[in-house]
Symmetry: C4
Subunit: 212 residues, 4 copies
Amino acid sequence: MPNPTPHDRSDQPIMSASRLELFSDAVFAISITLLALEIRPPEPSEHLGADLLGLWPQFAALVISFLLIGQVWLNHHAMFTYIKRVDRVLMVLNLLLLLNVAFLPFSTAVLAEAISTGAGDRAAAVFYGLSLAVGGVFFNAIWAYASAGHRLLGADITPAQAAVMRRRFAVGPLLYLVAALVGLVSAVASLALYAFLLVLYLAEIAAPRGDR
Amino acid sequence: MPNPTPHDRSDQPIMSASRLELFSDAVFAISITLLALEIRPPEPSEHLGADLLGLWPQFAALVISFLLIGQVWLNHHAMFTYIKRVDRVLMVLNLLLLLNVAFLPFSTAVLAEAISTGAGDRAAAVFYGLSLAVGGVFFNAIWAYASAGHRLLGADITPAQAAVMRRRFAVGPLLYLVAALVGLVSAVASLALYAFLLVLYLAEIAAPRGDR
Amino acid sequence: MPNPTPHDRSDQPIMSASRLELFSDAVFAISITLLALEIRPPEPSEHLGADLLGLWPQFAALVISFLLIGQVWLNHHAMFTYIKRVDRVLMVLNLLLLLNVAFLPFSTAVLAEAISTGAGDRAAAVFYGLSLAVGGVFFNAIWAYASAGHRLLGADITPAQAAVMRRRFAVGPLLYLVAALVGLVSAVASLALYAFLLVLYLAEIAAPRGDR
Amino acid sequence: MPNPTPHDRSDQPIMSASRLELFSDAVFAISITLLALEIRPPEPSEHLGADLLGLWPQFAALVISFLLIGQVWLNHHAMFTYIKRVDRVLMVLNLLLLLNVAFLPFSTAVLAEAISTGAGDRAAAVFYGLSLAVGGVFFNAIWAYASAGHRLLGADITPAQAAVMRRRFAVGPLLYLVAALVGLVSAVASLALYAFLLVLYLAEIAAPRGDR
């Protein structure tokens, strides 16, 4: 029975790229907003002000995870500017990335609570860094798959440009792995490293750049 | 009083199919992201690493439910590629499916916690499988209703192709029922069966297929 | 200083109606999905199956609130088919309706837990019914404001048709008030009344209707 | 290597303004709906009615935060009516605003619980007011950056009009700061001030206005 439905061939488009991106954006938006939901209000008391200040690890982890997800979202959009077709492999790789993004509020909460109490904080930092690194691997897998042989890309990007993006994206998981390793020594140092990387990223925005 | 408003006849379009699909996509996206929210961070302690490893049932159930919802979302999109009109019956059937999707984080949490503690795990596996099977029934009802007599479909699919999709979709609830029955014997075996089915599905993606 | 910005006059459009509807749809979708999140998984135990069955008030309230929100969403869409302009008053009335919708998971949880334990169940039923009635009042206020003097409507509906819709919508809060009063006597009877009204609504769908 | 990818220059558009606004709207919608989720149902008991009435600080804070977020959303939309391009600085400033919006359910819950118990309520009111003021600063930063030298604006607004909006927006954080200071004296007075400001805002809507 040749071609019973248009959805029956694994290598055929199953969805427009813009629809997949819209769904992905929704998951990014939900996950990024849920980050703050993981912070429980302290019990009201006469020293509520001090208790709120004591939540600084929660706030620091919130800011860092929020900006990290924001950056992943931005890069995800950059990828999908060039991805013109969606097949089932891409769909599954993208789902795995979204699963990772949806998981980040959990690993953020684990890290923040461990730093708060000082118990198990290094294990939590490694866990947090590894979950970021795994997300980075999925992210890279999406682009590697889509750009291999220019498989799912359009004419508005050349293979050479796609390779540049591939190399640029590959830095992410390596940095996260390093931060996870730093977490073996100190959770706060690991958190500070993320903050430093984000500041670098922000500084890069402000800095004038040549025609590189 | 003839035809007071365009929305007064039950067999008339009440909404564009694309609007209903957008709303459905939002519910899919929210529900899939809330799955991870059901996992509570363990109390910080010196053995946090071991405690996190001990959450493997939660992580396994998360991955499985996430990919299952993703697959239902994909199939839902495939259906709505061909559904061109929405009447009130379709609206209600679709709401029931969305209710089921929104319910999945709950049944996932029940299953994961029961496997974690080993108490009531078979009841939880049956409950999980039945909730999936009920969702599958709603899913099939949508397509059966929309495609009966080509009622709500357009010209880009033939009745024969619609019947092929009908048969293909019908497999879902049966598989879930089998997994629910397996849960009567062992919750972990039931979970493994879902994982196996998902791997089959993924393997099917990679495998080259003829012109069947 | 005449007309410094286009947003400075209270009776001028401040947003396209479709944008407001999109935002509203998002709130509907989130709220409807959060309903299930209010149900906490029972502690795993050997009698988990019975414990799950014991959650029937939670499940019943979930189904009823889910379908009620779905129906409000559908009616909201019907309204916005004809609303062509959005001014600040409409914006605020719509925000109040959305606040009510976002509140429904709370009142649903209050009702379900009270029926579960049998303590305070009548107060909970009245509270639930009143919160629905308040929502109905906001809903009617939107349409009354938009349709008064055909203020925000377009040419695809006549004032007479708008008046028919006005009368039809007005039934909602009255029914909810009746159900709230029934709750003074019995919470389960109140819940059953909602179920009955929903079944009536669903039956109306299936029934053939004349050219009324 | 000149211009390897279109995303490589910090001062170049990285995303359409409408896409950024859609993402922002999603975060607004999620955060506004999560406000109600922070209110926990009271334990069912024979005095449930009184317990629900005792939640008035939760309900008051919910209404106020809901309408405040709604107003910020409306102003955000007004800004993005004129913002035609998005660069990386704008992206980061907007992310910081969204972070603040996503944080509001937390500070609302802190305030409501503190007023409920009367413990630490002034610290909570200051915390709430400061979090609003910080959000107002980010909001103003977005518009100041976008409108400086008409950097990211289009032709449908003049520099003079943009300056009017700049002055109008600047009032927000100042009012929030005042309310935070009032919180140093009394949390309820601070809450009443927000209510008063909102009523003023609503009254302004109903009042006829000249051609100012």
